[in-house]
């Protein structure tokens, strides 16, 4: 492995990497060794056009661009000397010659690389007295993105993104020289399943999303690491949180999962967190058939007494569990333990399926389908079949994914059951047949782990707290278990402890707890369930 020296620090690097890649690999880029850059992006082809990343390489007379200079053994690189500093100042000054400098009204302010680098590497005052380019403002590029041509610094990240990642190529540079502009081709709007990533990679305020722009200044946002729950890919995200509200999802880099991208559908799924159809209170169906709002204790009491009556009269075999692939491993482990303690053997997980692609979007539209199966939940089909054959009198349903065509199809098959207990985040047709309803937390509101399609265990932490009372599925199940007097249930639920119990009980999760899993996740060990699945 070649050894290089950057600013006096010796670094061992992989063969065939460029200087910027080597620093990125080592986690040092802009994190110890600062080489500012615009056109270079770790997940896009090298462009080499912004010329900001120039560094001095001993033995080469001209400054070299770090993004396109391969490392050689013994290479000595200087990134902070006077010559490099002047070159950077030169590029920064030129980039600002035509920039409108409208930071006060620009939505990118606060996370703008032009702003940041101007403070860090630029010159204090512009010497340009010339009129700036007057170009198009507020250009509607497509359903998701708005473009300000004047702010664009023509780094071409967005052009390369569209060409290389979704491979749709909607964007191109038109004209040349200082009249170059980015445009779409006539009749071909920027419209692909990943279009909004261009706003993330745009270093300036040229490309912004219609969804987020002007909603809040970014410096008010706290970035909470989390996982997108839109499908089983489990893209790593930052939830942008302020005032106990999630304003956006942006992709969080994880080279093992989603690189630096996220699909538009996943990005927009943040809206589900505070959606008007969120369930806000516990309810039980009274004798007149109306749903009556109650407290959690009352809901648990009603659920427990209905289940107890069935167990006493018909045995636990008539109680079925429908698990949700939106629930965490900790929820599901608790649920599975509950069903076992109760003596129910009819259970399964319902997963909504949809379109997939070969980039990020997976077929299973829930974050934890693999985890649910790993924890012993089979196909919900078996539960539905048993309901159809009349062998079930009570259903405990986590979520409402079993309503889909091919499983229940509607709430109808449950209409004549003795007891339907629903734990859900959002309203659904299940409300029409439920006897007990408990609102539960969205992934953005709780602590726990999911297992993605590539069998990676990933953590969510509470980013916001709902203003109404909600509970983790596991917490509700634990209370229900205690109310039923089941063995091993004392009514308490602590996700951290459950994760440790899970690790001890299931070899695939061995050694994984809510701390050690970290923000980047950890691969799940192979297990009987995973081998059977393959």
């Amino acid at each position: 492995m070649p050894k290089i020296t950057i600013d006096g620090n010796e670094l061992e690097v992989a063969e065939g990497r460029t200087i910027l890649q080597a620093l990125d690999d080592a986690g040092l880029l802009m994190n110890g060794i600062d080489i500012p850059h615009y056109c270079w992006h770790p997940k896009l082809p090298v462009d080499g056009s912004c010329r900001l990343c120039q560094v001095e390489v001993e033995g080469i007379p001209k400054l070299q661009i770090a993004c396109d200079t391969p490392v050689r053994d013994g290479m000595v690189v200087h990134t902070q000397n006077e010559r490099v500093k002047q070159a950077r100042e030169g590029v920064m000054e030129l980039l600002l010659v035509n920039h409108p400098l409208d930071c006060p009204i620009c939505d990118q302010a606060g996370e703008c690389k032009l702003q940041d680098y101007t403070y860090d590497y630029g010159v204090q005052a512009s010497r340009s007295k010339e009129p700036r380019r007057a170009l198009k403002k507020n250009v509607d590029l497509g359903p998701t993105i708005v473009f300000d041509q004047e702010r664009c610094i023509l780094c071409r990240r967005c052009v390369r993104f569209c060409r290389e990642i979704p491979k749709t190529g909607e964007l191109a540079i038109f004209n040349r020289g200082d009249h170059s502009v980015i445009e779409t081709f006539p009749g071909t709007p920027l419209d692909n399943p990943y279009s909004m990533n261009v706003a993330d990679i745009c270093p300036v305020g040229a490309l912004t999303t219609k969804d987020f722009r002007f909603k809040i200044r970014v410096w008010f946002l706290e970035d909470v690491p989390g996982i997108c729950t839109g499908c089983s890919n489990g893209c790593n995200i930052h939830l942008g949180v302020a005032n106990n509200k999630v304003y956006r999802y942006v992709p969080r880099r994880n080279d093992a999962v989603n690189d630096t991208w996220i699909c538009d559908a996943g990005r927009m799924s943040y809206r589900r967190i505070g959606a008007p159809d969120r369930l806000r209170e516990c309810a039980v169906r009274d004798e007149s058939g109306r749903l009556e709002p109650v407290g959690l204790d009352r809901a648990i009491e009603v659920a427990a007494s209905r289940l107890r009556r069935l167990v006493d009269s018909k045995g636990p075999g008539v109680i079925a569990g429908l698990a949700s692939a939106h629930a965490t491993n900790e929820d599901l482990f608790t649920f599975r333990r509950f069903l076992a303690a109760l003596g129910s053997e009819t259970h399964g997980v319902a997963v909504v399926r949809g379109e997939a692609d070969d980039l990020l979007i997976k077929e299973e539209k829930a974050p934890n389908a693999v985890g649910a199966r790993e924890l012993g939940f089979g196909d919900a089909r078996t539960v539905v079949d048993r309901i159809g054959s009349g062998g079930v009198d009570a259903v405990i349903a986590l979520g409402n994914d079993a309503l889909q065509e091919g499983l229940l199809g509607s709430e109808e098959p449950l209409a004549n059951l003795d007891t339907v207990i629903v734990l859900d985040t959002h309203a659904s047709e299940l409300q029409r047949v439920a006897h007990v309803i408990v609102p539960v937390r969205h992934a953005a509101e709780k602590l726990g782990t999911f297992v993605n399609a590539a069998r990676r265990v990933q953590r969510v932490v509470p980013a916001v707290e709902s203003v109404w009372e909600t509970y983790s599925d596991g917490e509700v199940i634990a209370k229900l278990g205690a109310a039923l007097g089941l063995e091993g249930f004392d009514g308490s639920y602590d996700a951290r402890q459950v994760a440790r119990d899970l690790a001890a009980a299931n070899p695939a999760f061995a050694g994984i707890d809510l701390d050690s899993v970290g923000d980047a996740g950890r691969p799940l060990a192979d297990s009987a369930a995973s081998k059977a699945e393959r």
Binding site: S49, R51, K62, G90, L94, E130, G177, D178
Partner: protein
């Protein structure tokens, strides 16, 4: 015989012959004997060796040794190899390739064939400037003749060597004369230079090993093969052998093309061959090698026209386009024209070039119309310095150098504009 203003050496010797552009006419003067000699009597390495010994420098502007360029083509490589003939002559002040295409298309084709043999290339793309309609027609006819005669195709001259030639046309961008910008354009993409490495010899046209040479460079090759390296070295200087065609334009009595040995003093070209400035006026400055080369003031015209001497005067031979400006010329106006051209033609990839060409042009135009300040002159020089040597291709240099040259030698013109708040040279050339 056509009337010829040319001072003819071997390249243009027969250009006045009416039938010389045809295959029959070309062969009448010994055409294609050199190619036959190379293909039947010489190994590719021997050809490269002769061209190296001859010291033929590329005539496209950069002056890179042609034989060495050919030797960069990978030998152990199964991919098809290509040659590209750069006929996208678009440097303002340069018009030598045009005559070589119009009157010497077979001479160029013979050079291409020899280079193809030397490099193992199976095909050549001749990329001709879009505006060159007549030259392109001449080349297309010559190619058709060569195919008909068996000088191109599957079995060149019965040797079993295969070589195809395809003529393509540019669409009017200066930057497509830069070799990798040309390759992009050739492939049907937007003409933007590629970053190097990889160089064309590794990754050229359509990703294949490629050598790009200028029209004139190819045109010298048959003569070198026919008459030998030592004969070639009898022209020009020790370091810059051979002749070149100087295109003289501007304020001279006899503008035109002059084939002269490299190293001919600039003053001889301007005053003897081109007849000096009309009307008894004095020379103010001369751009020696196309618009991208820094200007020389009247006092430095004794310089021999070869890179080793021109570099000492901080300029270069470029494409040999000699532009003469007399004492009535406003050098700020010249700077304005030059900077407008480069602003318009920059491909816009690199920050320094894209923003720098525009900024320089805006400053110069402001000074020209009398709205400049002395500080602007400093900024102008500084912007030019920021552009130099920091970009993907040499365009930014080409845009910065002439402005630096004008500031170096004619700073007073800029200062006078600022002080008088108007142009002190009324009646200076208009476009």
């Amino acid at each position: 015989m056509l009337e010829s203003p040319y001072v003819t050496q071997y390249l243009t010797e027969h250009f006045a012959e009416a039938d010389y552009p045809t295959l029959k006419g070309y062969e009448r003067f010994g055409g294609y004997a050199a190619a036959r000699k190379a293909l039947t009597e010489m190994t590719p390495d021997e050809v490269i060796e002769v061209v190296k010994t001859a010291g033929l420098q590329g005539r496209g502007g950069a002056g890179f040794p042609a034989g060495m360029k050919w030797s960069f083509m990978p030998k152990e490589d199964d991919r098809p190899k290509y040659l590209v003939c750069n006929a996208d002559e678009s440097e303002p002040g340069s018009f030598k390739d045009r005559i070589l295409l119009e009157r010497g298309a077979h001479q160029m084709l013979e050079g291409i064939l020899i280079a193809a043999w030397a490099t193992g290339a199976c095909a050549t793309f001749i990329y001709i400037r879009g505006e060159y309609a007549f030259p392109a027609a001449q080349v297309e006819r010559a190619v058709a003749e060569a195919y008909a005669k068996g000088y191109l195709g599957d079995n060149v001259m019965g040797t079993g060597f295969r070589h195809d030639v395809r003529v393509t046309r540019g669409a009017g961008a200066y930057i497509c004369g830069e070799e990798t910008g040309l390759l992009e354009s050739l492939e049907g993409k937007k003409g933007q230079p590629r970053k190097k490495p990889p160089f064309p010899a590794q990754y050229g046209a359509f990703g294949m090993p490629t050598t790009v040479n200028n029209v004139e460079t190819f045109s010298h090759v048959p003569h070198i093969i026919a008459k030998g390296a030592n004969w070639f070295r009898s022209f020009g200087t020790e370091k810059s052998p051979g002749t070149t065609i100087f295109g003289v334009s501007g304020h001279v009595v006899r503008p035109g093309l002059y084939e002269l040995p490299l190293g001919t003093p600039l003053s001889e070209i301007v005053f003897e061959h081109a007849g000096g400035v009309p009307g008894g006026r004095k020379v103010k400055g001369v751009i020696p090698g196309g618009m991208s080369m820094p200007i020389l003031p009247a006092g430095q015209l004794d310089v021999p026209m070869a890179n080793e001497f021109l570099r000492e005067q901080k300029t270069m031979l470029g494409t040999g386009g000699v532009m003469v400006m007399d004492e009535t010329t406003c050098m700020v106006r010249a700077a304005s024209v030059i900077s407008y051209f480069f602003r318009d033609e920059s491909c816009g990839q690199c920050t320094q070039c894209r923003e720098g060409t525009g900024w320089m042009n805006k400053i110069i135009e402001r000074i020209e119309r009398g709205a400049g300040e002395e500080a602007d002159i400093e900024v102008l020089g500084d912007v030019a310095g920021k552009m130099e040597a920091k970009t993907i291709c040499a365009f930014a240099d080409a845009a910065a150098w002439p402005i630096q040259g004008l500031l170096r030698h004619f700073r007073d013109d800029f200062v006078e504009h600022v002080r008088q708040r108007k142009c002190p040279f009324p009646g200076s050339f208009e476009l």
